[in-house]
């Protein structure tokens, strides 16, 4: 029993230790990187599988932000014109894989809450353009929204998000299961949870 536990530990622990030991996790799920640059880390679900099309994420994409009786609709360009912040956070999936710290860039969730007068800030209901899969929406708590590292990310590792990683915009929050970091975000409802 101990031997078996040790064998499983040694073939997967590299991803948890990180650094130079990361490639030693030879049997961790999603063991190979899908591409390079902004695509150089795995996804739980591709856009195609989630039912997200080019039309959902093209120039007609809009982000609706709702707060205390106020609603603001933003284009991606308008989001990029808001103050941009950086956050070094990994994706850690409940499937049993994780990434290194990635260099996310985008708008703080707290700033978006302030934009619609949701002070505190309260929790937020995040909704996605995805039509299939179990996590088309996710609720984040007030402390997750308030954390300065929590972003609505627009870019990663110095490049725009790719469609599989949630282009035009995705949530990234510290210490949160990967699936709660909603991709292809279309609506943020502050105080709706």
């Amino acid at each position: 029993m101990g031997l078996g536990s040790l064998a499983l530990l040694l073939t997967t622990v590299g991803q948890s230790l990180g650094g130079a030991l990361r490639p030693t996790a030879v049997l961790a799920p999603h063991g190979r990187l899908p591409g390079e640059g902004a695509d150089g880390f795995p996804v739980n679900t591709t856009a195609a599988y989630a039912g997200v099309t080019e039309a959902d994420t093209g120039p007609d994409w809009r982000l609706t932000v709702r707060g205390e009786g106020r609603e603001v609709v933003l284009t991606r360009r308008e989001l990029l014109d808001l103050p941009q912040h950086r956050s070094a956070l990994p994706i850690a999936c409940v499937e049993g894989w994780s990434t290194r710290n990635l260099d996310w860039e985008g708008v703080r969730l707290a700033d978006l809450a302030a934009l619609v007068g949701a002070h505190g800030p309260p929790g937020v209901l995040v909704e996605s353009a995805q039509t299939s899969g179990s996590f088309a929406s996710a609720a984040l708590r007030d402390n997750q929204v308030a954390d300065p590292r929590s972003l609505l990310a627009l870019r990663v590792d110095g490049a725009d998000l790719t469609i599989d990683h949630g282009y035009p915009a995705r949530v990234i929050v510290p210490a949160c299961p990967g699936v709660h970091n909603t991709k292809w975000v279309t609506r943020l409802s502050f105080g709706a949870v």
Partner: protein
């Protein structure tokens, strides 16, 4: 007290404590699963896993262990074989070739797992062979001395 528990239960109190803890954990996990519905499916898996373990796996690895001990140097084969077999069992779906769902959902081919499992197994047996060689040489030197 210890002797009393041992007489009534058949093993040390620590064993009893561990078993109660493990069963509590399993019960907790089971109740969490019930939220997903299908209580019969859960019962079949719980009871089925226990039966499969006790009726098939325990006799199988007892027999294999006995057979290897008859041949001698059993642990040198058994240890890497068990580790390799367990890795095979855990990663079987990926090693046999990923499902269509895996490919569609992850955008990955799932292709490196079979080769990586073979390499991990080869490394385990090689390490075991190295240990065997060292032991063999040491035994010969001791005999010569």
């Amino acid at each position: 007290m210890t002797a009393l528990v041992r007489r009534a239960y058949g093993a040390s109190p620590w064993h009893l404590l561990l078993m109660v803890g493990v069963l509590a954990l399993v019960a907790y996990a089971g109740t969490r699963l019930l939220h997903g519905g299908d209580p019969w499916g859960i019962a079949v898996w719980f009871v089925g896993a226990a039966l499969l373990h006790d009726l098939v796996l325990v006799p199988a690895y007892t027999l294999v262990g006995r057979a290897l001990r008859l041949v001698g140097r059993g642990h040198l084969v058994l240890v890497p074989a068990v580790a390799s077999g367990l890795l095979l069992l855990v990663y079987l779906p990926l090693i046999l070739g990923p499902s269509h769902t895996y490919v569609a959902k992850t955008g990955l081919t799932g292709e490196p797992f079979a080769a990586r499992w073979l390499l991990a197994s080869a490394a385990l047996f090689a390490a075991s062979a190295a240990v065997g060689a060292v032991r063999h040489r040491r035994a010969r030197r001791d005999r010569a001395a």
